[in-house]
């Protein structure tokens, strides 16, 4: 079983590269061996691709957004705190795969939306 954000795109060179590209774009651009004596092509926009989440998150706007979001929560339902079960060391087979795929695809779209703002698609000019 392969757990993926999206099914591989048809006709993408026989690999899963196109379908899963958005999910690993920061690895392609920010990881991999760097050879000091070779030039790394200076690519406009690359530095925008990976964002230090802490820098982005820790801002006044973020604080205000959290406050607003909390203010709108309905906490009257006698909600139980979410406890993460002691899963480590007791991984077993289960049949949640179908449900899981839906959840994965949803999160995948969110990431793709973020990255699509940054990477220039083919056919559109950028300088």
């Amino acid at each position: 079983m392969t757990i993926m954000a999206q099914p591989p795109a048809a006709g993408a060179g026989g690999g899963s590269a196109a379908g899963a590209l958005y999910d690993v774009i920061e690895l392609i651009l920010d990881r991999g061996l760097v050879i000091d004596v070779f030039v790394r092509v200076s690519i406009v926009g690359i530095e925008l691709l990976t964002i230090d989440a802490r820098v982005v998150v820790a801002s006044i706007d973020t604080y205000l957004r959290f406050a607003e979001r909390c203010g709108r929560l309905d906490l009257t339902g006698g909600r139980q705190p979410v406890g993460l079960p002691a899963i480590v060391g007791q991984i077993t087979e289960n049949s949640a795969e179908r449900k899981v795929r839906g959840a994965i695809a949803g999160a995948g779209r969110a990431i793709a939306d973020t990255i699509q703002d940054i990477v220039t698609p083919d056919g559109r000019g950028s300088n």
Partner: protein, 245 residues
Amino acid sequence: MPSYVYCFTHAQHPLALDDLRGVGAEEPVLRAVRHNGLAAVVSNAPEGLRPKRRDLVAHETVLETLCAAGPIVPLRFGTVAPDDDAVAAELARGARRYTELLTRLAGNVERNVKGTHQEDALLADLLTGNPQLRAANQALRTAGGGSESDRIAFGEQVYLAVEQRRIRDTAYVVAALRPFAELDRHAPAVEGCFMNVSFLIPTDAQDDFDAAVVQLLTAMEGYAELRASAALPPYSFVDFAEARV
């Protein structure tokens, strides 16, 4: 002529390059530069390379395809050498290091796991479990939202609690998946994700790894989601540092 370099590998790698095309609008053919038992896969370097979808896919496809046929050391996107002679010189200079690296990477793939919280569930959980936060939230509500400085102060407390959860939940996921991995590394932070971690997994341990991811997804349903990549070239494991997450 400048050479765009994709990866290093053993010279005995099958190096089936005929059906692959490189980065750039011209979709250049690939060739191998060999030196003393090592090989580099290169193409003519395109001019004005930018990270267009087509080029990222080309780079990734070349690496994924070659990685499936034998160990490779993936180079970062956009690496250009002055010419093939310079590539051969680098293979000579780093021969020992690259040979050791290929030995260590053989039989392994990278699997990347990203986690996202469902924000409302996370925030509700934090408020429910923390009387002070809950009371502060209620006080702001009663005050019709409160002053901006009150909202900022409250929001910062929530932010700090969220940060604690990011750390806790990352540790939880990593602890569950680490038994299947040779190594694990933090991947670059990605907006919206509470965790982004890559694991170096033996090819034959992938089914167990996948089953563990499914188990985690079930355990965190309604609270957080995980997304595990397919098998990737070992982008995050091209040095010898043993640091773990």
